[in-house]
Amino acid sequence: MKRPDHDIMKHFSGKEGDEVRLIWEKARRREQPGHDATGVNPEEEWALLRKRLQLAGRTGGLKMRPRHLRSRSSAAKATAAKTYAFITALAAVLLGGFIMWYLFMPVSMEAPRGEYAVFHWDDGIRVELNSGSRITWNRTFGNGHRDLRLHGEAYFEVQPSGKPFVVETQTARVEVLGTRFNVRSWSDDPDGRTTLTLVDGQVRLASLLEPEFHTLVQPGHTTQVDYHNTKPLDPQPVNTDQALAWRNQGFYFSGISMSEVAAELERRYDSEIIIQDEILGDRPLTIYLPRPGELENIIETICFVTNCRYEEDQGTIYLY
C-alpha cells in the first residue's frame, strides 16, 4: 500500500508520525449498503463501449439512451436606573466595538463582475480595477492605502513622493517609488500566478513565500511568480498596450489556457461559461482583441481559432 507522501510525513514527528501511519493503514472506504459497485462487470461494459464506438464510426455521433431515464415606584425607579446603566454599558461596548472594527477591519473596494472601477487619492495614487477585482488595506496600520492587497487585476499610477507604495498578492510583494504598472493575480488560478507589467518607473517584485527572491523590473518588461516558481522569472520585454488592453475593454491572452480565458470572460461579462471538454480547457490560446464588442463575437472568434463549437442555453455558454 502506498504510504503518505514524504512532504506530508515531514509535518509529523515521533508519536504523531506513528499515529498518522496507523490512521493511514486502518482507513477504509465506508461500505454503502445497497450501493454495491462490484456487481458491475467491466467486460460487459467494455463490450458495450466497443460496440458504441465502432457503430459511431469513431466520431462519437451516436448517443446512447441513458439507462436511468429516470409600572412606577421607587422599586420601578431602581429598575429603570439599572436598565439605564445597562443600556449605557451596552452602548459603550457597542461603540467600543465599532471603533475597534473601524480601526482594525480592512477597508475593501471592488469592481463588481461586468464593471470597472477607478479610485484616486490626493497623494497621487490612481488605481483602475478590472471586473471582479478587489483591493483591501488597513486603516490603522502600515501606510493605509499605500499598502494594498490585491485580489484580481489592477493598473496603478503612483506619483513619486518618496513614500513607499506596496501591493501584495497571494504570491508576490511589489514595492514601488513612482511608476505606472499592472498587476494580475487571480485567486482561482491553481498556480496562484502573479504577473507584473511595468509601463514606466522602476519596481521591485519579491516572492511572498520566499522574500529573499526578488527582481527589479524595467519599463516595458514583465515578470511572474507563483506557488511553485517562487523565484521571479527574469523580466521579459512585453507590449504594454496588449498587457493593458483590459483598461479599454479589450482582451489580450498569450499562451493562456482556455479555462483561464473563460474565467476572465465570465468576470468581464458577468456570465457563465462551461467548458465541457477537459482537454479543450487546458488548451493554450493566444488572442488579441482590442475592441471585442459582444461576448458572443468573442466566443465565435475563439471557436474559430480552436476549432470548437458552442451552444447557448439560458444565458450559459457551453463550449465543446
Binding site: I8, E16, A27, R28, H35, V40, G60, M64, R70
Partner: protein, 192 residues
C-alpha cells in the same frame, strides 16, 4: 491501479488509436472509477452511464491527449465533472453538498465496545473521515483510496498542490485528535 508509467505509455498508444492499450486502460481503471463515481451519484446504472460517456469521450479526443499530463488525473476529473453536472441538472446543489451524505451510524452494542479490536477502529475511522470538511475529505480520500499523487489530486480538485498538502495535513490532524480522544475513552472504559 497500475503505475503512473503504465498510464503514460497507454496515453501515448491511445493517441495512436491503439485499441489494445485503450482496453488495458479500461480494464485497469474501470472499477476504481466506478467506485469513485458512486461517491457522487449512488446509483449503479447512472454511474455506468457516466463511465460510458467518459471513456467514449476519451476515445473521441485521443488525438489531443497530452503525455506530459496525468491520464489518471484526467479520468478522475472527467468522472467528477460529469457526476456534478448530472446532479446539478437534476436539482440545485452546491458543490460542497456533492460529498456523500452522512449515514446514521448504527448503535454499538455493549459487546462491540468491549471488543476494542482493530475492526472497531476501522469502523470509527471511516465515520471520522466522513465527518471531515468536504475539501479535506476529498483530498484525503483521493490520496489514500485512489492512490493519486498530489499533483494529480490538484488537477482533480482544481487547486494548487500546496493546497492539497494543507488539506491532507489538516485532515490527518483532525483524525489524530479523534483517535487520541477515542483511545482515552477506551482506557476509561477499561478502568470501570
Amino acid at each position: 491501479m497500475a503505475k503512473a508509467t503504465d498510464y503514460q505509455q497507454w496515453a501515448r498508444k491511445i493517441r495512436a488509436s491503439d485499441e489494445k492499450a485503450f482496453h488495458d486502460l479500461f480494464m485497469d481503471s474501470y472499477q476504481p472509477l466506478m467506485r469513485y463515481a458512486m461517491n457522487f451519484v449512488k446509483d449503479t446504472d447512472v454511474a455506468k452511464d457516466i463511465l460510458q460517456e467518459v471513456y467514449a469521450h476519451l476515445w473521441d479526443i485521443r488525438d489531443r491527449l497530452d503525455e506530459k499530463k496525468s491520464l489518471k488525473a484526467l479520468l478522475y476529473r472527467m468522472v467528477k465533472n460529469r457526476s456534478i453536472n448530472l446532479i446539478r441538472s437534476r436539482r440545485p446543489v452546491r458543490l460542497d453538498d456533492v460529498a456523500p451524505s452522512e449515514q446514521p451510524s448504527e448503535e454499538m452494542s455493549p459487546e462491540s465496545i468491549r471488543l476494542d479490536s482493530d475492526g472497531l477502529l476501522e469502523k470509527r475511522l471511516s465515520q471520522w473521515i466522513e465527518a471531515l470538511p468536504p475539501r479535506q475529505r476529498e483530498a484525503f480520500e483521493l490520496s489514500r483510496f485512489e492512490g493519486l499523487d498530489h499533483h494529480e489530486i490538484a488537477e482533480v480538485m482544481e487547486c494548487a498542490p500546496r493546497t492539497v498538502n494543507n488539506h491532507i495535513v489538516s485532515a490527518l490532524n483532525t483524525l489524530r485528535g479523534q483517535l487520541n480522544q477515542w483511545k482515552s475513552q477506551g482506557e476509561n472504559r477499561n478502568k470501570e
